[in-house]
Structure formats: structure tokens, C-alpha cells
Symmetry: C2
DNA sequence: GTTCGATTGGGAAATCTTCCCGATCTCGAT
DNA sequence: ATCGAGATCGGGAAGATTTCCCAATCGAAC
């Protein structure tokens, strides 16, 4: 018997090497393939589907979520376990929306990863304790993302503001008057309790509204 | 013979476990201790200095740089190898300023880590190829951090602006008039070619001026 | 069918930004 | 010592933005 096969997706070779060693110490699991990008993961899974896909969210370009969607599109029954550094609940929720079966943060003890692999191999969902705790807190306290105070249009505009777009650019992009954007801008700041535009950027980052890479300002 | 001893510092247990396996496959290296925080690293090194310290920059709270400084304060000859996800040159430079002997990004092949360990054990400096390339490009093209266009006061104020402080708070903190802060604010935007305050935040982040954690805005 | 909230924008006063200017202060060079 | 460059600090005024209030529209829920 060869146990459960695993496709390991992470853009850091050393990290992959480490996990491979760790996983293969575990009887019943075998790393069948590795991939270092969204597209490589997709192709690898197409070529030879594995029982489990372990994937990091933060990869250059399309954020791992894309890889999840692609793989689930190929195989509705793919078992995908997100194993990432991102501790924010928002990332976890997005991963599940994209089709993941499990979400384990790298802060978790190694056993958590092993346990999660076992769980999702049996068709169950798995989250690491820290994420579970966040979900519990959210449910019990009714606390939500600060963005819940915002309507969809406001979220959209906040995203553009936080990514550095000017009022004119936003008005142009959305085919609205500058006045409307200004009014939204003020309203968003008020609702989010932000006294500064820089604050908006941080809110957007924490809410997972903004990807960290590829923003740039072209200073020179 | 027991080879070179290593202290492994990373806040992710699974990551540590992976590296440990990886390193111990290498003849001549032995992971003598692990630590998951700045203070734990410091205490572990005090208790039993190792030949090499491998440390991740991104740890909760004090950013790993602090751990480097603490350890170097205890032992001027400590060999510290930074092994991190941060690919920005600015992080690498800061690490060397803090006293690191090597800087390897996690995007590097496993051999790079092994090679770097060997190099710094012999008292040499080591950087991974990607960082070396960045340094070379910077030297050859004369390109520097966008912040080089700014004076120290401007950098200080940029930092406060980007972290979300209002004009009044900054004026207060620095004992300057609001007018002066406003003038700096404008000047900084002009020099950095930023058309928006949100842009300033991104510049500050990319320049390594801002730590990603613990900023918050207190929305609710 | 009416009420509620989301969306879109005008108006006007308050505030901020920008650009220009001058006063100091430090520092290295002459 | 003096000079000049450049950083630091702030005033002034015109122009742009922000803020707050208000109104019209539209779709969904009751």
C-alpha cells in the first residue's frame, strides 16, 4: 500500500523540502509531486490528481486562491488543504469560498497539519485552532469585519482609494462624478472611524481587501 | 564528532520542524535548539551558544532584528543567518546593520541555505542570489530606495503619516506647528511622486519603513 | 404601494494642499 | 572666521478638498 498521495504547492523550495521531509516521516502519506506556482499546481493536478493538495496562499501573482479554484474546476472532489502564514480569518473564509477543505496556519504545531490531512482525506473540514478560535469569537460576539458597516459600492471604492487611486481616477473608472466619490470617501472614513486616508489603507489590508504585492507608486 | 550546532529561530513550529529535518540530513550540522520568539532566542543563546543562529525576520512583536541585536550584544562573534520570506533589499540591509552575517530568502533553493551556513561558519558573509542581484542592480544603476530623496525629518514624518497619524498628532508628537507638518506632507508627496496619501503608505511599506503588524485603526 | 436603504450628486462652509517665500541652524569648505 | 549649501521650520494666499446637509432615484421587502 502506498497511502495517501500529496501534491505540495509552495513557492519556496526550502519550505517545500522541509514539509516533504516532515510529511514523509508520517506513515501513510507520500508527497507525489511539488509545484511552485498556481499554474504549475494546476498542471500537476491535471496530469496526476493526488488525494490531497497542500497549498500556500501567498504565491507570486495569483494568490493561491486561484489555484484552488482551478483545481476544483478540474475535479469537484479535490481535497485541498491550505497551509499558510496568513492568520487572518478573512483569508480563511476566502479559501473556503474558493473550495478549500481545510485551513491550517503555519503557527500551528506539526500535529495540526497531520491531523488536518487525515480529516480532509476522510471528507471532513479542518481548521487549525487559532482560526477556529477566531471563528468562535466572531460568532459569539457578533463581531464582524469592519467592512460589514459598508455597502458593496463603498467597499469597492475603499479598495480603489486604498490602492492609491485618485478621486478622478476612481470617478472615471466607475463612471461617476467626482463629487460622488468625494462623498463616498468621507462616508467611508466616518463609518470606519478612520481619521486619515492612511488608516483606510490599513483597514483595507487587515480586511483582506488589498493584495500586498503589485501596488507600486512609481517613485523616481 | 558533532559538527556545527545550530539554533533555529522561527515562530512557526511546522516550519521549524521542516527545517530541522532538512538541515539534519546535511552531514556536519546539528540543530541544537529551537526558539519561537525574540526573547526565547536570546535566552537560548545565552544558555548555550551555538555555532550558527538561523533566524526568521518576521516574528510577532519585535521583528527578529531585535533578536539579532540582543544576541550580538551577548556575543560579538555570534554568526547569525537570516532566513526569511522578505525579498526586499531594505530588509536585508537592516539585517546586516543589526549584525547578521548572512541573508537567505526562502525562495532560494535548499542548497543556498546549506551553502550560506557553510560560508558564515567560516566567517564569511553570505547572501542568496536574489538579494545579491538586487544589490548589484542598485550599485550599477545607482538606483536607491525612494526614501533617499528624503531627508531624515521627512522620513520620520512619512513614517508617522503612513502609520495613520493625523497632522495634529504628528505636530504634537514632534513639537512642530501643524503648518510645518502640512508643508512636509506636501513636499514628501511631491518628492515621492505620490498623488495620494494611500500611495505614501505603500511607499513606506515597500521601503521597509512600516511594520505590517500592530497598526490598527480601532474601527467599530 | 409604501417604506427603507443604497446609490448618486448639488451646495456651502470649513479645512487642507500647494507653492512661494523668508528666517534659522548646522556643517563642511575656503 | 566666513561663506554657502541644504535641512528645518513656519507664514501667507489661492485653489482644491472635505465635510455635512439635503434631495432624487431605484430596487427590494413588507
Amino acid at each position: 500500500m502506498q497511502g495517501l498521495t500529496i501534491l505540495l504547492v509552495d513557492d519556496h523550495p526550502v519550505v517545500r523540502a522541509g514539509y516533504r521531509k516532515l510529511i514523509e516521516l508520517q506513515p501513510g502519506y507520500r508527497v507525489a509531486a511539488e509545484a511552485d506556482s498556481t499554474s504549475a499546481a494546476y498542471l500537476a493536478y491535471r496530469r496526476a490528481p493526488t488525494d490531497i493538495v497542500i497549498i500556500d496562499l501567498s504565491m507570486p501573482g495569483s494568490s493561491g486562491l486561484e489555484a484552488i479554484r482551478l483545481i476544483k474546476a478540474v475535479d469537484r472532489n479535490a481535497r485541498i488543504l491550505v497551509f499558510t502564514m496568513h492568520e487572518g480569518l478573512s483569508h480563511a473564509l476566502k479559501a473556503f469560498e474558493a473550495g478549500a477543505s481545510g485551513y491550517v496556519t503555519k503557527s500551528s504545531p506539526p500535529e495540526a497539519l497531520i491531523a488536518a490531512m487525515g480529516a480532509i482525506a476522510e471528507g471532513r473540514k479542518a481548521v487549525s485552532d487559532d482560526i477556529a478560535r477566531e471563528i468562535a469569537v466572531e460568532r459569539l460576539s457578533g463581531r464582524r469585519s469592519p467592512l460589514d458597516a459598508l455597502g458593496p459600492r463603498e467597499v469597492e471604492i475603499l479598495q480603489l482609494i486604498a490602492s492609491g487611486r485618485t478621486t478622478d481616477e476612481i470617478a472615471d473608472a466607475l463612471s461617476l462624478s467626482q463629487k460622488t466619490i468625494q462623498n463616498y470617501h468621507s462616508g467611508i472614513k466616518a463609518k470606519l472611524n478612520a481619521r486619515t486616508d492612511a488608516n483606510l489603507v490599513w483597514v483595507a489590508i487587515e480586511a483582506g481587501l488589498i493584495e500586498m504585492r503589485s501596488v507600486g507608486v512609481g517613485a523616481g
